[in-house]
């Protein structure tokens, strides 16, 4: 059974099954992701951090192939470090997004990477960029990605508003991911969020047992 034969399993590329999301609000952005990476049907890492820093105030959500997205993040981090040294100042979110897009588009045949880049800079304030498979670059007020995003497109369309406060945006992100995790087998674990504003970066972590139960789910027993 190819699915349960682990000797074959770990030879399959590690896939970030994934649900990722980023939402901009007045003054910043909130990024969110689940924490499951799978190798076939085995969970290779149940506490993965899929939100990677590219610069002090620009972060990247990764979905698709773990190795491809880690390699892309490495290259973009390096180019941004060079760029910031030359510019003598922090990188703009749009610059970071364009660098990632160039890599993704020019190697589209070899890469399997769905990226969301979000952050804060003085020119644009909080911005969110989506770079799906193929290397399109889209500037958007909010976006969702990964295999779990398919299950929450309707929910997000209904409940998103363009005038979120920071707390409302974070609550929206956590609820969206809770629903995605409930329905997508490749998403799970815990929910990680990163909030970026002019003041800086705030990381948050919600264990899977503390997520609200969705319809039909039993609530977590008190002993856990």
């Amino acid at each position: 059974m190819a699915d349960y034969d682990v000797t074959q399993s770990y030879m399959q590329d590690i896939s970030l099954g994934t649900s990722i999301i980023a939402v901009s609000f007045k003054g910043g952005v909130v990024l969110g992701a689940d924490s499951r990476t799978s190798s076939g049907s085995y969970v290779a890492n149940r506490v993965q951090d899929k939100i990677t820093p590219l610069a002090d105030t620009v972060y990247l959500c990764r979905s698709g192939s773990a190795s491809d997205t880690q390699a892309i993040a490495s290259y973009v981090q390096y180019w941004i470090a060079e760029h910031q040294a030359e510019k003598n100042g922090p990188v703009d979110v749009s610059t970071a997004a364009n660098l990632a897009m160039q890599l993704s588009y020019n190697n589209k045949n070899m890469l399997q990477a769905g990226l969301i880049i979000a952050g804060w800079d003085k020119q644009g304030g909080g911005s969110v960029y989506a770079i799906p498979l193929g290397g399109t670059l889209l500037k958007v007020p909010y976006t969702i990605g990964g295999s779990g995003s398919a299950y929450i497109t309707g929910w997000c369309d209904k409940y998103w508003r363009d005038d979120f406060t920071e707390e409302e945006a974070r609550a929206f992100v956590v609820k969206a991911l809770t629903h995605a995790i409930a329905r997508d087998a490749s998403s799970g674990g815990c929910v990680r969020t990163v909030t970026i504003t002019q003041a800086g970066v705030k990381r948050d972590f919600i264990p899977g047992t503390k997520l609200a139960a969705t319809f039909g789910e039993l609530p977590t027993p008190a002993s856990r």
Partner: protein, 268 residues
């Protein structure tokens, strides 16, 4: 062997094709089947591995070493194709030694990790090495898993190989933060034992490697799990009286004694 024309010599390709046609299959690459595991404890990292190396369904090496040296403070367990794990760890070990002389500092675990992941990513998964890298540097103990395609994870406990599910079950049940050295060793050994007994690709003995800021303890064959219960003695020594004597007859024979020495032809 073969012609002196230079370049590659493909004589053996014809021979292999002929053998295969006759029903002799080519030998399979040695895989390490394997259960490998690593766990971080209060003072450092414990790496553990079984010792079975397989070629198809035959055990090729009953007591191979799967915990490879990378630097005095960094070791790496390898699962997958044995040649790939051996060579990629040896390559990074040499690279890090040169790096140490260039920088004048102790190697960092993330450096080893980045060298390994860049190499594996460049080969897009064809270098079949699934590794657990552990070590202690100036930033404390580290444990990383590195997959054949080049992705890495930083974890407090990790398992790899065909027996990884068995070992991970033990870890998930028994891991706690800030374990003592003895607890960590016992847990890691239990995880490998679980793989040895329940996974066909893993077997024989358990190796342990404990890395702390103070140094490394490499416990080769820490546990013998499938030791032979009977070892044959050869040649067999039968005690006198084993065979009953029925009759005794002694005959004196003519023996010719040659005086002097007959020498061999030593210089010719």
């Amino acid at each position: 062997m073969g012609s002196n024309a230079g370049g590659f010599d493909f004589e053996l390709v014809k021979r292999n094709a002929l053998l295969e046609a006759k029903g002799v299959p080519p030998p399979r690459a040695w895989k390490t089947g394997t259960t490998i595991a690593g766990v971080i404890y209060k003072d450092g990292v414990v790496l553990a591995a079984d010792t079975r190396s397989t070629s198809g369904s035959t055990v090729a090496d009953k007591n191979c070493e799967k915990i490879h040296f990378i630097a005095p403070n960094i070791y790496c367990c390898g699962a997958g194709t044995a040649a790939d794990t051996e060579n990629v760890t040896a390559m990074v070990s040499s690279h890090l030694e040169l790096h140490k002389y260039a920088t004048g500092r102790q190697a960092r675990v993330v450096t080893a990790m980045t060298l390994l992941k860049s190499h594996l990513f460049r080969y897009q998964g064809h270098v079949s090495a699934a590794l657990i890298l552990g070590g202690v540097d100036l930033h404390g103990p580290h444990l990383f898993t590195i997959f054949p395609h080049g992705s890495t994870d930083a974890l407090p406990y990790a398992t790899m190989g065909s027996g990884s599910l068995n070992a991970m079950a033990v870890f998930e049940a028994g891991y706690k933060d800030d374990m003592s050295r003895e607890e960590a060793m016992a847990l890691a050994a239990r995880a490998i034992r679980s793989g040895v007994y329940n996974d066909l690709g893993s077997g024989s003995n358990v190796d342990l490697c404990i890395i702390t800021a103070g140094g490394v303890e490499y416990l080769r064959n820490y546990e013998f799990l499938q030791a032979k219960t009977y070892s044959r003695v050869f040649p067999v020594k039968y005690p006198p009286g084993t065979a009953p004597v029925l009759k005794t007859k002694v005959t004196l024979s003519e023996v010719a004694v040659i005086e002097g020495v007959e020498s061999m032809e030593t210089d010719s």
